[in-house]
């Protein structure tokens, strides 16, 4: 199977900032080392200014207000500082696994601007005092070869990353799972404490950053925090890549500034292909939002939390009217249940149980007491796993019951939607080993 990459066919300047995708917008080609060097020059070495106590790059990233692009929106400077102040020589892991089948942004970035990510890895390694850097990708992903080729194109530099292939499973790219894999060979999450930034790979303080986060660092080092803050909001500055999928005319990866309404990326993607009833935000393990009500929701983690949800990974999948939200959710829950690492009881047993419940509900096999049991289970599972996988899966199910609540009576009274009414949520597989719902 070939790597199918969904990309914006055009990205008009009026549509907003084009930063990470500027090379693509200009040349319509992936940027090789020659092109990258011509556009950006060598990565700058941030200089310490008088009276400035912090490491200079970390100070710039702090002023820029950059937050992680892997879904957690954690302040990047804080993580950099924690790794830098840790005991022992630090390690840098760039996370390019992109385990969620609803997201394709990291693949787009690594395909189109690989050297921006590599610049970011080197800059981050200098800032935290690391000598060892790795780029984590899913085993069998075509990016493994293309990124190795990109690294080989560059002049020999001390901090160039080694490409590491990680088992292509959903939870194997959680930060603790990457650390566990590189330390013990087990690609499964561990307890959240101590954090990888405190004790990571082989006990060393380890920076685990999403590849897009690192690419933003490469731009901040060149153009500065004021430039970075020229778009986005005060608390979520800058731009982000976003995957727009489902029932839109031009599904693909786009770049938006934080704070634009949810309808904006849908418009960039050519607008709805059909009337929409809902969108899934945050990837496949995301949350449902009703349409058109969610059209004006500003896209930042803070605004989504204020509305009772989460933004998570920048991904929006549009569900057309006519598709069955319950059938669609049941399929996604089944996939997520099968992707459990099988370590924690509430996840190992709870996720298959709620996937069964949702399937029964979708197919008309559930009565109201079964729905009550599902709601009870959704209340019991969260917060009891080592990683966030069970909590995210529960949120997907819980928001489905809210957003598709009008569909419940018919499904509970023996008039379910037909079996074919599930809508495919996953994008094309990145690589042959990946399993998809």
């Amino acid at each position: 199977m070939t790597h199918t990459l969904a990309l914006p066919p055009e990205h008009p300047a009026s549509a907003g900032p084009v930063r990470l995708l500027s090379g693509w917008a200009r040349t319509r080609q992936p940027a090789d080392w020659v092109e990258h060097s011509a556009s950006y020059g060598p990565p700058p070495v941030p200089r310490r200014t008088r009276g400035q106590g912090d490491e200079p790059l970390i100070a710039l990233v702090d002023q820029a207000g950059l937050r992680g692009r892997g879904g957690a929106a954690f302040p990047t400077a804080r993580k950099l500082a924690e790794v830098r102040s840790g005991r022992g020589r630090a390690v840098v892991l760039a996370n390019g696994c992109e385990g969620d089948p609803g997201s394709n942004k990291d693949h787009a970035l690594l395909t189109l601007a690989p050297h921006l990510v590599i610049d970011g890895i080197i800059l981050a390694a200098q800032a935290v005092g690391a000598r060892e850097t790795m780029l984590c990708l899913h085993r069998g992903d075509p990016l493994v070869d293309s990124m190795r080729a990109a690294i080989a194109e560059r002049p020999n530099e001390p901090l160039l990353p080694t490409v590491v292939e990680v088992p292509a499973r959903y939870v194997s790219s959680a930060d603790t799972a990457l650390v566990n894999f590189l330390t013990n060979g087990t690609a499964k999450p561990t307890q959240r404490s101590p954090r990888p930034s405190q004790r990571g790979v082989r006990g060393r303080p380890t920076l685990v950053d999403n590849v897009e986060t690192l690419a933003h660092i490469a731009l901040i080092a060149r153009y500065g925090p004021e430039w970075f803050r020229a778009c986005g909001t005060a608390t979520s500055p800058g731009s982000t890549l976003i995957t727009v999928g489902g029932a839109v005319r031009l599904p693909g990866v786009y770049e938006i500034e934080f704070g634009v309404p949810l309808g904006h990326p849908l418009r960039l993607a050519g607008g709805p292909a059909r009337l929409l009833q809902a969108v899934l935000i945050g990837g496949l393990a995301g949350r449902w939002l009703p349409m058109p009500a969610a059209h004006e929701l500003p896209l930042t983690e803070e605004d989504c939390r204020a509305a009772g949800g989460r933004m998570g990974i920048a991904a929006v999948t549009a569900l057309p009217a006519g598709a069955c939200g319950l059938h669609t959710t049941a399929r996604a829950l089944r996939y997520l249940a099968e992707e459990s690492a099988g370590q924690c009881g509430p996840c190992m047993f709870g996720l298959p149980a709620i996937a069964d419940d949702m399937t029964d509900l979708a197919t008309g096999a559930a009565a109201s007491e079964d729905l009550a049991r599902l709601r009870r289970r959704l209340g019991v599972i969260p917060g009891r796993g080592a990683c966030a996988h069970p909590d995210a899966t529960v949120s997907l199910a819980a928001t489905a019951l809210d957003v598709f609540t009008d569909d419940l009576p018919a499904h509970l009274s023996g008039h379910p939607c037909p079996p074919g009414s599930a809508f495919p949520l996953a994008l094309s597989p990145h690589h042959p080993d990946a399993r998809h719902p």
Partner: protein
């Protein structure tokens, strides 16, 4: 303020990866632990009240997989 109040508090924690649903904790400390339908413990709170401290110690010591732990809270709270 919150930190100083919690400084010497004993807290109950479960390592969900180590836990294998033996269920002794719910027998020995029913005031703080119930089991879900799959037999895995649900903590009804983390802070251990002084009268239950002895029972909590016994429950932690009895856990065959060492998944139930009694710890003193960090002063940072």
């Amino acid at each position: 303020m919150k930190g100083s109040r919690r400084r010497n508090e004993n807290q109950l924690r479960i390592d969900p990866i180590s836990c294998h649903a033996h269920g002794l904790c719910a027998d020995l400390l029913p005031e703080m632990v119930t089991l879900d339908e799959w037999g895995y413990p649900i903590l009804l709170g983390e802070a251990v009240p002084a009268p239950l401290l002895q029972h909590a110690r016994r429950a932690a010591a009895a856990c065959p997989s060492l998944a139930l732990r009694l710890t003193r809270a960090e002063p940072t709270g």
